[in-house]
């Protein structure tokens, strides 16, 4: 039986791929959209039988990240896996299918005064895609990334078997935590089909305290002042060229008092606003996006490098020690490689690094997207166990994984 027919027997929604569905230029031969975990498992089983390479697709917000796949026989689209399976508000947990958009999830949780504390920068992102990309927004200062918020995960393995880890209680150390392993794994270990998250109450009051700074040293000082203060911001962001902003969340009186404390601490050009400052919570503009690991003490050095890269380079940075650099269009591969190596030199001294998320295709093929990857050998061995035939998102990840 042909793969298309075999897949059609187990899944209602199977068709051939279109050129515009290409993953970084690689057109999928087939597209399947399973509507249940059982159907997804069957699709993956057939893919294993037929030796098809598989790439999971959510809302395509980050499908252009990473390196192009070696091949794509089957795109598994999760948009029909869009159920909120359970919202146990008394327990502050929710279980949702992989294809559910985070905005839809947020609306449903809001009805009970709760939220998933993950303010992902790209609209439309799905539960599964966000986990697979390990993406997070400004709230990561206090709440971390998917690795901190996923408490249970269901995946379909390369061989079509369904495996769960964790559960639906926050405090749980039974067995290995595959939720953390799959966070940021780019679809190379298995197909994420549902996830259980810990939730938080929506705060009753919020305020942004925004301060204008002039130069790397002032930015550093403002960030350090907030970090070491007792105001406990939910988000702390630096937005180039000269804004430091802190989000305060809590009860109304508390937020007013804390905002006052911050204004006093930061002095000078400081405002309290209801909304986030411009550019906050979005990836910086540009055709190349670089994700940087940059602990707080590296901020002034990082700003120095970004300034040296010339006009049109955009940057945001979070107090958790993580930032994004946007490079403008029109740079040659050598120029991008030069910028990358300057960033890696400086950040390397602070135990940080730089990873390219996306870049124009001609640039991407000429640069090292990942930089040095410690423990790569161990990563390969884990990959070999989960996907011995290298059919899952082949070539999309570090070291050719």
């Amino acid at each position: 039986m042909q793969p298309l027919d075999a897949l059609a027997k187990v899944c209602d929604d199977v068709r051939t791929g279109e050129p515009e569905e290409g993953v970084l230029g690689v057109q999928p031969a087939l597209v399947a959209a399973p509507a249940s975990v059982a159907e997804a498992a069957e699709v993956m089983r057939v893919a294993a039988e037929k030796g098809l390479s598989v790439i999971p697709r959510g809302a395509e917000t980050r499908l252009d990240w990473g390196t192009p796949p070696e091949r794509c026989d089957l795109l598994v689209d999760t948009h029909r896996l869009d159920k909120l399976i359970e919202h146990a508000s008394g327990d502050l947990v929710a279980k949702a299918e992989a294809g559910l958009p985070l905005e839809t999830l947020a609306e449903r949780l809001e009805e009970k005064g709760q939220r998933l504390s993950l303010d992902v920068p790209l609209p439309g992102s799905t539960v599964g895609g966000t986990i697979a990309a390990g993406a997070a927004g400004p709230l990561r200062t206090l709440y971390g990334t998917p690795r901190n918020l996923v408490i249970g995960l269901t995946v379909v393995r390369a061989d079509g078997k369904v495996a769960r880890s964790g559960g639906k209680v926050v405090k749980n150390v039974a067995g290995y935590d595959l939720g953390r392993l799959f966070s940021g794994s780019y679809g190379t270990l298995g197909l994420i089909v549902d996830a259980t998250f810990r939730l938080h109450p929506v705060p009753t009051a919020t305020a942004w305290v925004t301060c204008q700074v002039d130069g790397p040293q002032e930015a550093h000082d403002a960030v350090q002042a907030v970090l070491h203060s007792p105001v406990a911001p939910s988000a702390l962001e630096y937005i180039a060229p000269g804004t430091v902003a802190a989000l305060l969340e809590g009860v109304p009186d508390g937020v007013v008092a804390r905002a006052g404390q911050l204004v006093e601490l930061l002095g000078g050009k400081t405002d309290i606003t209801e909304n986030a400052p411009d550019g906050c919570g979005a990836y910086p503009d540009g055709t190349t996006l670089i994700d940087v690991t940059a602990p707080p003490p590296s901020l002034s050095d990082l700003i120095g490098v970004v300034n040296s890269l010339g006009n049109g380079v955009a940057m945001t940075w979070n107090g958790s020690g993580h930032g994004h650099i946007g490079l403008p269009s029109g740079l040659s591969a050598e120029e991008v490689a030069g910028a990358l190596s300057a960033l890696r030199d400086v950040l390397g001294r602070h135990k940080g690094g730089a990873v390219v998320r996306y870049a124009p295709q001609d640039v991407r093929s000429e640069i090292d997207l990942w930089g040095p990857v410690p423990a790569l050998g161990l990563m390969r061995r884990v990959k070999d166990q989960f996907d011995p035939d290298h059919r899952l998102s082949p070539g999309r990840f570090v070291g050719g994984i």
């Binding site: 008394g90 559960g167 039974a174």
Partner: protein
């Protein structure tokens, strides 16, 4: 001693120098168990390395000899995770206790695995920081052990577990290689799975921990209720009001009685349950929320509320709770501790079922728990001199875990699976789930020498063992470029 072990002991001795290798049977006995004393096994060899390189060399020597090994920190674990192998080596990290770096601007510190949990806090407290994970054993447990067990503590309700406070680890892999795992580096989050793997994926030799700003204010109250149900109602009301306390702890009448006998904590007489609620954070936030918590406790029927006026009074409130485990020794010759977790909203039903179980079996159960996150620590009491009593206690204990699983919970919230609960894993996970977890183990430790027999009831066959792989690696050629 078997010839293989004898040869290994000699090799380790030559490698590590004097007083670092123990083979004397009397001294070995010191290490026969961890904090869970009903599992005992005397190791064949104990080694006390001083450096990461020595740990790596020890692991390589064990791998070459095909001898299993177990890492141990302070030995305070409560699931037998550090239970030695009679045919193996116990690698004790207690000599590796330097704090290597304190980086306040970066809010992190780098420590060796044998550093005591509370010593990290002591070292950074002058700067206004602390290390958030606070297992009850924090005065003696090691950070390396915290990493292995993904330790929690009373305050993990708000601050999360060790996994959320470890930014990186230097690890000796079962190949004897030293590698760096980071929470935020390129590639797989191997650190995320290493933390909490109970020492089955390797041995950490250096840990970068996140430091947390000491909160501006801490407020603690103790509320006494007639019954556990009333206390449970207060817990639900507090969480339902959107308050995230630093800790919510509950004790029932039997555990209060024990604590009273042991430490004279002077909790309100006649209480069927006491609740300890602690809030921390900015002054203004805590003030508003604390008033609300107090009101919610009264609404739920608290007949007495005590508010700690200062740190001394706070310590007094916590004294009864913190001594509860040891205190049951005052009311029972022996006991088993469980560590099950249930969804918080299932507390009333599950506690009623535990009561029923206790009544049916005649086995007394004292309940102490982290009520905020549904983590129960039922203490199952028995008289070990009475024939059959231990078995009956074990049965009740297992039935309680079944209750937790039935209500969608977990068999362990913070103590780990170890050897103690591995037989319960198939009740919580399918064979495929366990097989999938063990794929990670096969990636790290295909020979199965690193803390074998823990966590999983049945080892997975890993197939190909590294070193015998033939031909070029499938990634070869592409690997160096991207």
């Amino acid at each position: 001693m078997e010839p293989v072990l004898k040869a290994l002991a000699l090799r380790l001795d030559a490698m590590l120098g004097p007083d670092r290798v123990i083979t004397d049977p009397v001294r070995l006995r010191t290490y026969e168990c961890d904090g869970l004393t009903n599992h005992r096994s005397t190791p064949a060899i104990v080694v006390l390395p001083d450096t990461a390189e020595q740990v790596a060399a020890i692991v390589r020597a064990c791998a070459e000899a095909g001898v299993p090994y177990v890492a141990r920190g302070s030995g305070t674990g409560l699931s037998g995770g550090a239970l030695p192998r009679a045919d193996g080596v116990l690698i004790v990290t207690s000599r590796m206790q330097r704090i290597l770096e304190i980086d306040i601007p970066g809010q992190r510190a780098v420590v060796e695995p044998g550093v005591i949990n509370l010593d990290v806090t002591r070292a950074v407290r002058p700067y206004g920081y602390y290390f958030a994970p606070d297992p009850s054993s924090q005065q003696i447990c090691s950070v390396g052990g915290n990493v292995a067990e993904n330790s929690g503590g009373a305050h993990c309700l708000k601050y999360g577990f060790t996994a959320h406070h470890v930014l990186g680890c230097e690890v000796v892999t079962p190949d004897g290689e030293l590698v760096e795992l980071a929470a935020d580096g390129p590639g797989y989050d191997l650190l995320g799975v290493f933390v909490g793997a109970e020492g089955t994926l390797g041995i950490t030799t250096k840990i970068t921990v996140r430091l947390t700003r000491v909160p501006e204010t801490v407020q603690t109250l103790l509320a006494a209720f007639d019954s556990i149900e009333a206390g449970g109602t207060a817990v639900s009301a507090i969480i339902g009001a959107g308050v995230v306390p630093a800790a919510i702890e509950m004790m029932d009448a039997l555990s209060i009685e024990a604590a009273e006998a042991a430490v004279r904590c002077e909790y309100p007489p006649g209480a069927g349950a006491v609740l300890i609620v602690e809030l921390d954070g900015p002054d203004s936030e805590v003030a508003a929320q604390f008033a609300e918590v107090e009101r919610l406790c009264r609404d739920a029927g608290a007949f007495e509320i005590r508010i700690a006026a200062d740190d001394a009074e706070r310590a007094l409130i916590w004294k009864g709770r913190k001594s509860a485990f040891a205190a049951v020794g005052r009311i029972s010759p022996a006991y088993l501790v469980q560590d099950g977790v249930i969804p918080r909203t299932a507390l009333p039903q599950v506690l009623a079922r535990i009561d029923a179980l206790s009544a049916e079996s005649g086995v007394r159960v004292a309940n102490v728990f982290h009520a905020g996150d549904g983590n129960l620590h039922p203490l199952v009491l028995f008289d070990d001199s009475e024939p059959g009593a231990a078995e009956r206690a074990e049965e009740v204990s297992g039935a309680i875990l079944d209750l937790c699983i039935e209500h969608g919970g977990s068999i362990t919230g913070e103590h780990g699976v170890g050897v103690d609960k591995s037989r319960y894993m198939p009740r919580m996970f399918t064979d495929t789930d366990l097989d999938t977890m063990q794929m990670v183990r096969c990636g790290f430790d295909p020979a199965g020498l690193c803390n074998p027999g823990k966590v999983f009831p049945t080892p997975r066959l890993c197939g190909e063992v590294p070193g015998v792989r033939k031909g070029p690696h499938p990634y070869e050629g592409k690997a160096d470029i991207f």
